[in-house]
Subunit: 87 residues, 2 copies
C-alpha cells in the first residue's frame, strides 16, 4: 500500500553527532540502525585509539559491508538449495 511507503525523517545521534535520515523505513527501524552503527564505531575506536572519526566511520562501513556480503551469499546459497529441492 502507498501508505506504508510514506517518507519519514528521523534525527539520530551517531558518535556524538546528529544525522537526519530520510527514507521509507520507520523511525523505530532507523533508530535501531543508528544505534548499531554507533556501537560499531565505539567498538572500532576502542581497538584503534589513534584513528580519527572519519577513519572510524569508514571502517564501520567496511565491517558492515563485509557482514552484509557474507549474509547475502548465505541467503543466495539457501535459495539455490531450495530451488534444487523443488526441481
Amino acid at each position: 500500500m502507498a501508505e506504508d511507503k510514506k517518507k519519514t525523517r528521523t534525527t539520530v545521534e551517531i558518535y556524538g553527532h546528529p544525522y537526519t535520515i530520510s527514507g521509507t523505513e520507520t523511525s523505530t527501524h532507523i533508530r535501531l540502525v543508528a544505534e548499531k552503527v554507533d556501537e560499531k564505531m565505539r567498538e572500532i575506536q576502542m581497538h584503534n585509539r589513534f584513528l580519527d572519526t572519519k577513519q572510524i566511520a569508514v571502517l564501520a562501513a567496511v565491517n558492515t559491508m563485509n557482514e552484509y556480503l557474507k549474509i547475502k551469499e548465505e541467503l543466495k546459497k539457501m535459495q539455490q538449495h531450495l530451488r534444487n529441492e523443488e526441481e
Copy 2:
C-alpha cells in the same frame, strides 16, 4: 583447517584514502568490500554535496547496516520457514 583462517593484511583505497584492513578474509574479498564502500560513499556524496567525508562515511555505514539488518531478517524468516516444514 587452521590454514584457511590465517590473518591477512590488505591495503585498499577508499574515497581517496588508504586503509589497511586485517582479518581472516582473503585479500580479494577485502578489495571487493572496499570497492563497494567506496561506491556507496561516492553515491551518497553525489546526492548530498554539502556533506563532509566523515558524514558521508557515517551515512554509508548507516545505509549498509540498514541493508544488512533487512537481509538478516529475511534469512531468519527463511530458516524459520524451513524448520516449520521439517516438523
